[in-house]
């Protein structure tokens, strides 16, 4: 399987990564190199094989539904590029 330039743009948008027009052909070539590298997997017989969900046989533990290690809103917003009064600020999303 290989991707065309429209698919490259669609993937970039899904991944929320801006791409410039001049980057598209090169990206297409790199993605296709990776896809052709993984192509040999289609020849492997996986009939009746369960997909792996946990590499070490264990069940996910449950814990009490309670707040743990809460450091406070000051600490949570300290690293934000935009924060105001314990809120993260973003460009306007509603009119």
């Amino acid at each position: 399987m290989s991707v065309d330039q429209a698919t490259v743009r669609r993937i970039a948008h899904l991944a929320r990564i801006a791409v410039r027009d001049e980057e598209v052909p090169h990206l297409q070539q790199e993605l296709n190199a990776m896809l052709s590298f993984v192509e040999e997997l289609s020849a492997v017989d996986v009939t009746g094989v369960e997909p792996m969900t946990s590499v070490i046989p264990m069940s996910l533990p449950l814990r009490k539904d309670e707040v743990t290690g809460h450091a406070g809103a000051d600490v949570v917003t300290r690293n934000a590029p935009g924060a105001d009064d314990h809120f993260f600020t973003v460009p306007k999303v509603v009119e």
Binding site: I17, F37, E50, V55, A71, P81
Partner: protein, 505 residues
């Protein structure tokens, strides 16, 4: 003592306990060595004040007879680990200025046991790379000089673009370079596809990726959560065993952390391997493998046989599928894990005309080329219509890879011996500029181990024709790291400790 940075971790620990040296002196010696080695670019952040404070506190504990297992021993920390109040960016532009308000579980256990932090170590961006060339902070040089180079030529290259100098491997290239250059006694590292073992092999150091679930991943920036494991790089098998004991252990904050007791790994260093069954998988004899790698493997076999181990030919038929399957599973998980870097809660923000273009601009500028490429391929294989064909199929193949190992272990195999890498270290700027797959092939022997969640250890086996270190890999049964330490010690003793480079930088 002439240069106390040349001590092994175990030697330094014993000298501290015997009060022959102080942690303050030991730490100062390392701080000086780091300052002189800035050209290697192994450390991206130095924390000398913190180190000196920690050393003084350690000396006080040692004096009062309350020393911990790592008391007073200076270490380097890979930039993937959260260190409270100290720079942590996974060597990415997108985490600009990030100082975590919390400490990773693994590093907190090192400080609990008395260790001293020297600083944060360079790495491939988000641990994606095999040469430490994808770091936002630039490449790391190996302390090993290419064949025919003298110190002057090396120093001149360090001042320039470093082209032609050797890579220290990756992603834990800062860790391996710093350990090999005596800029710390040992370092933390992480391994998703070979990122501990390949750098160790390239620099003549020892590294272990423990069983998945052995070390907590909490506070370690996630790349591919089902493959990532923390582990140490150090200069001897014993030193890695000492480090792992402190790093390992159950942590309720990591739901995949396994609740089994942590053994005193150091006790297994030097234990007899008589009667142990060592598997030699024929599928690791790949096309185009250099003769010196094959010869190294044979030497390893002879050493283990001479120590009383039984050598058994085995087959791991799905070996060849591991690398391509990895390049579906790992990018898929990465595309999901790295979705959190969006310019809102931390790090870089690049403005846009609306929120969506703010996300897109931030991620385009904040992530480097390799990371963008992997996020995109991961997004593709998880997208509607391709999920079953790529991702589910790769997870099925993973089941087959793991089953290969399980069958070998059921037949009584205690550990598996393979080469660690298909070649010795290559030059900075030499690989992967055209076809990304060329770089990925470095991990052909190590990636199977992550896919199966097993422990793997790289130990130096000798030197290549051009005088560069070559490593052997040991693969163990789940949670039987002790066997790996015993077998690796036999190799280390038989091969003789590698003589690491003298400072030319």
């Amino acid at each position: 003592m002439s240069d106390i940075t040349r001590l092994t971790l175990a030697e330094a620990r014993d000298a501290l306990a015997a009060k022959k040296i102080s942690s303050l002196d030991l730490t100062k010696a390392h701080i000086e060595a780091i300052e002189k080695a800035r050209g290697l670019n192994a450390y991206i952040v130095e924390t000398p004040d913190k180190a000196l404070d920690m050393a003084k506190a350690a000396d006080a504990r040692i004096a009062s007879g309350n020393a911990g297992p790592l008391d007073g021993l200076p270490l380097g920390i890979k930039d993937l680990y959260a260190t409270e109040g100290v720079h942590m960016q996974a060597c990415s532009h997108i985490l600009d200025g990030f100082k975590p308000p919390y400490e990773s579980t693994v590093t907190s256990q090192l400080w609990r046991d008395g260790a001293v932090m020297l600083g944060k170590l360079n790495m491939d961006e988000f641990a994606m790379g095999s040469s430490n060339e994808t770091s936002y902070y630039g490449p790391v040089a190996s302390p090993w000089l290419p064949a025919g180079w003298d110190a002057d030529k090396g120093r001149a290259a360090l001042k320039g673009d470093k082209k032609g100098l050797l890579v220290p491997g990756g992603s834990s290239g800062g860790s391996s370079s710093a350990v090999a250059a005596h800029l710390c006694l040992a370092a933390t590292a992480t391994d998703t596809g070979g990122s501990i073992r390949q750098p160790a092999a390239f620099t003549g150091t020892v590294g272990i990726k423990p069983t998945y679930g052995r070390c907590s991943r909490w506070g370690v920036a996630a790349f591919a959560s089902s493959l990532d494991q923390a582990g140490p790089i150090a200069r001897t098998v014993r030193d890695t065993a000492i480090m792992l004991r402190s790093m390992a252990g159950y942590d309720a904050k990591d739901s995949t952390s396994v609740n089994t007791p942590v053994p005193d790994y150091e006790k297994s260093v030097g234990a007899s391997i008589k009667g142990k069954k060592i598997g030699i998988p024929k599928e690791y004899r790949i096309d185009g493998m250099p003769a010196e790698i094959e010869a190294l493997w044979q030497k390893g076999i002879e050493w283990l046989r001479a120590a009383g181990a039984e050598i058994v030919d085995i087959s791991l038929p799905h070996t060849k599928t591991a690398l391509p399957a990895y390049y579906i599973v790992a990018p898929a998980e990465a595309s999901s894990n790295l979705a959190r870097y969006d310019g809102v809660r931390y790090g870089l923000r690049v403005p846009g005309k609306d929120i969506s273009s703010m996300y897109e601009n931030t991620r385009a500028e904040g992530f480097g080329r390799e990371v963008r490429r992997r996020i995109m391929i991961g997004t593709y294989v998880l997208s509607a219509g391709y999920y079953d064909a790529y991702y589910v199929r790769a997870q099925k193949i993973r089941t087959l890879i793991k089953r290969d190992f399980e069958l070998a272990y059921q037949d009584g195999i205690d550990a598996i011996l393979t080469p660690a890498t298909p070649s010795a270290a290559f030059g900075i700027g030499e690989k992967g500029s055209g076809d990304p797959v060329e770089m990925y092939l470095n991990d052909v022997f190590t990636v199977t181990v992550n896919m199966a969640g097993l422990p793997g250890l790289a130990v130096p086996g000798g030197l290549s024709a051009s005088g560069l270190p070559l490593g052997l890999q040991l693969i163990g049964r789940p949670f039987e790291e002790e066997t790996l330490f015993s077998v690796a010690e036999v190799i280390e003793q038989a091969a003789g400790r590698i003589s690491l480079p003298q400072a030319w930088w």
